[in-house]
Amino acid sequence: MSDWIAGACFLAGATLALLAGVGVLRMPDVFTRMQASTKASTLGLAFLLVGLTIVQPDLAIVMRAGIIGVFMMLTSAVAAHVIARAAAMTGAPLWEGTKVDERPAGTEDT
């Protein structure tokens, strides 16, 4: 029974990772690509780690999986913020359907 749950977790994580890859390839500009990348990849990695702890319920493995999960949850937010700030400051081009551009005047699409 636990094998089936772990297999489902692995397949869900792999599907989310594939969706993140397709989103990064297909989305129109930097910021939409970033949300596809960071959200789907952290949730997919969480599924993979849950599957790992179900397959091998050993204390050392569960601890390391928890550390990896918490670390990715914390750092993906920080990394996304830092890249988004750099892209906005250097005037990365936005998708033509964008409604609101809150960047300060003078930095648009340079």
């Binding site: 772990a6 890859g21 990348s37 990896i68 990715m72 750099a86 081009p93």
Partner: protein
């Protein structure tokens, strides 16, 4: 059951990494490429975690943690580099 699911998972993660690397090659601006490289790092961490589940070798998890750490530091360094003027 797991003997069939784990290779499928690894293959799917590898396909996702190849698709993401296409964006590294195509990406019109430098932040696009940094985002894609960051996602490739996350996918490599996922591949390592699934390899640890398949083989039972605990050292793979240490490898995954170190790759995650280096990927994060590299992303922050690239972002600082872009903010300070980029490749110009």
């Amino acid at each position: 059951m797991l003997n069939t699911v784990i290779p499928i998972t690894l293959a799917t993660l590898a396909v996702a990494a190849v698709i993401t690397f296409a964006r590294v090659l195509l990406g019109p601006t430098l932040p696009d490429r940094v985002v894609s490289i960051d996602l490739v790092g996350v996918l490599i961490v996922g591949i390592t975690v699934v390899a640890a589940a398949g083989t039972g070798v605990q050292a793979f998890l240490d490898v995954a943690l170190v790759i995650a750490l280096i990927s994060f530091v590299g992303t922050v360094a690239y972002a600082r580099y872009i903010e300070r003027g980029g490749p110009s």
